[in-house]
Symmetry: C2
Subunit: 462 residues, 2 copies
């Protein structure tokens, strides 16, 4: 008996979780964003570990409970015979790194089954109040944890608009360095200081570039604190040290995407970054959104890679793939909101300070970044994070950091961002909350979102 193949991206799908069916939800049944959270009552301070989950509507669901209830038995794509599905899936772990290591076929089969379980007409969980009580929670009643182990974190510099604007500040006649259009420029970031959305950000202290004409550096709380709007990519299957991932294979190694705020201390950065790159100006905190929007959920929102200008070099063969050129991009609308303490006290809503679809215009695709990252044999572990670098669109309202958006041209004073209530910002002040948001929409598909990537700046010191 041939069963009609279930399409988890079918826009007509509805869930028995009613909040997933509203017009404005970021988490319809077509999203099934994965996450890790602490079950209500579980206290990490007492040693409790998070559990793997899925966000749907206003709910989060403990996936291990569903696996234990045998809702995922007989999945297609299991690479071992007679294996215990719970062990294979790895969803009993306190993060999604083990799950990420599964081959794509199994991750897809899992997603399809999960979609079926949550579909409006499937009774298994819907009509089982005991299982629902054990597995389904209000998303605003739980604390989230970083979704994978993120043993390694790499930050790229893939937005040509960002690189050009920032380059112009330092080299007005020659903003892009000669390697930019050949090399997906990146650097190793700090895994230890990655935090999940909602955690407070302590303003860093450090050495700062000497004032003009001076030789002695400043020291103290950062005065030029900035956010950076980025998109992160979680790696699925890792690779062995010494074994590159080809550009063709790279596409399937994308587990899913998230939002990243790569907080940056510009005055510390300016002084420290020569000759070995940014260090303490970044490693005080990096915030990730709690959710992994899977590559499968994003499939409908794929778009062509950035179209190079006439005269730009073609990517070297190890970075070239026709499928990647056709659909290696993602069309994501990214918004940045700022909420100051004064606004909060006045009951004002966060103010959107930039918005755009600049992620379509990244000079390099994630597949290119993965192929480049491993061409030297460097190994990924499943769940590793690579981030795109600041995402800026071509226009001045689409810039992904204050360093850029307050830039008004060589020699001119910075042009402050204006906020409701008469406040202005050139850089972040204590009490400011930065909120990144992202969503994908396309005619004929259900709109999906990334959730929030939020952090509030706390004063320096303890």
């Amino acid at each position: 008996m041939a069963k009609k193949k279930h399409d988890a991206n079918d826009p007509s799908l509805k869930s028995w979780i009613e909040s997933a069916n509203t017009k404005d939800t970021e988490f319809p049944i077509q999203n099934l964003a994965m996450c890790c959270f602490f079950r209500p009552g579980d206290d990490p301070a007492e040693g409790a570990l998070p559990t793997c989950g899925v966000r749907i509507g206003e709910s989060v669901i403990d996936l291990w409970e569903l696996v234990s209830a045998r809702l995922f038995d007989d999945l297609d794509g299991v690479p071992y015979e007679n294996a215990d599905i719970g062990e294979v899936l790895g969803l009993g772990a306190p993060n999604l790194s083990l799950f990420a290591q599964n081959p794509k076929a199994l991750r897809v089969a899992f997603r399809n089954r999960l979609s079926e379980v949550l579909r409006h007409d499937t009774a298994a969980l819907r009509d089982n109040p005991y299982l629902r009580a054990a597995a389904v929670f209000d998303a605003d009643q739980v604390d989230f944890a970083p979704p994978t182990a993120m043993l390694n974190y790499t930050d790229f510099y893939a937005s040509i608009h960002h690189a050009t604007t920032v380059g112009t500040m330092f080299r007005p006649d020659n903003p892009l360095l000669p390697n930019y259009k050949w090399v997906p420029i990146g650097y190793h970031g700090r895994p230890s200081s990655i935090v999940v959305s909602g955690e407070a950000i302590r303003r860093p202290i450090g050495q700062q570039a000497p004032a003009d004409g001076e030789t002695t550096p400043g020291f103290g709380p950062c005065k030029l604190l900035d956010y950076e709007l980025e998109v992160g990519c979680y790696i699925a299957e890792g690779n062995e040290l010494g074994t590159p991932i080809s550009i063709k294979e790279a596409r399937e190694r994308i587990f899913g995407l998230c939002l990243v705020n790569d907080w940056s201390a510009r005055d510390i950065q300016k002084w420290e970054y020569q000759p070995l790159g940014p260090f303490l100006s970044k490693s005080f905190a990096t915030t990730v959104s709690p959710y992994i929007v899977t590559a499968e959920a994003l499939d409908p929102f794929r778009c062509a890679a950035f179209k190079r200008a006439k005269g730009d070099p073609a990517p070297l063969p190890y970075l070239s793939d026709s499928q990647d050129q056709k659909s290696g991009g993602f069309d994501i609308t990214l918004d940045v909101y700022l909420e100051t303490e004064q606004m909060r006290k006045a009951g004002k809503k966060p103010h959107r300070i930039s918005s755009g679809r600049g992620f379509k215009d990244m000079y390099w695709t994630f597949a290119q970044m993965i192929a480049h990252h491993t061409v030297n044999g460097c190994n990924f572990h499943a769940g590793d994070l690579i981030a795109s670098g600041t995402v800026s669109g071509p226009g001045p309202t689409q810039r992904g950091c204050l360093l850029e958006s307050t830039w008004d041209g060589p020699g001119k004073p910075r042009k402050a961002v204006e906020l409701p209530g008469g406040e202005k910002r050139t850089f972040l002040q204590d009490g400011d909350t930065v909120i990144l948001r992202g969503f994908c929409e396309r005619e004929g598909f259900k709109r999906i979102g990334f959730g929030e990537c939020r952090g509030t700046v706390m004063p320096a010191g303890v």
Copy 2:
């Protein structure tokens, strides 16, 4: 009854393990270098995990077996009452990161007890053939594993001789950048590609700087493969994100030291490193020696911090500590040996290509590096690795990498290193084995060594 306090560094101590009492051993009972190894017959390919050990003479000892045999009950310094000593020490883990997290007093008490257990006149293990059979193995019969989890890895640039020589190559009139004497320059390295001594190193492939006058980069196997002689420092207790480690506290956060070969692809590095620092030129492999020579074993070999020249700025207050200035350095003799395939076939011994005590002359101490690294609130996990950067002494025979040791001045061709049998090297060739060694000696103390940090270059490709 007052017991005479046992001094684990007493040079007159002897062990019942006879190979620890020879004149030339690097691992006398005064060293007690810690490590992780696979017990004979345990196959990592079948999922076996390494065990925590100590190296003494020609033996390695499984510390978990000793803990299980209750040889460490009633230690001083245990921070919890009625705690199970095995759980507290954390030596049942597959690496030493849990052990490293213990407060210094407990690590010292453990070391003293271990020294007593191995002392010539202590019968507990010596006269227990069952326990000896379970716990004591020939060091050359086991495979070693990385000694800690090394969740985070940072590489510094602390040798002023190295920075000056390399700077001279690019900026003959102005070799040191203005920040060098203020900032302990460092960057985040790649944890995933750290391997333990003995693992083969695959020559990396990548983009290389265009030839002079060209604009198109090269691509292929690295042509300028180099080693970098470094000293690594394992962090003991970690710190919470947002909570700096002061220079005074930093000294006690040094768990121990090791040797590091930070393999470097110079042609890849030259092309990629602007503006965000070295990336794929380093992340194909970093080799660590198997042993952690503890801070306690190194205490007798402490020396003054580098004496700054007249006119050099004083370290900023957060990097200043009188005790650190007096004894924040380590006097280690470091040797680099090279063995080519031709030499191996001809039965020739590895040839020493550099030797020196340049580690005394590092511009920054490890305590300064730790205080700097955390001043912005960046957090360490116990067992994290920071490396010194290439260690070069003042003289031409004490240079820590080929980039430096074959440098003969601006505009001149590189001066090849000459090897027995008539071979020459400006950079490494396939089949070359690089061996780093280090030892400490001082009148009135027993000489101790670091063991080997060894790697052989394999051809590019799989």
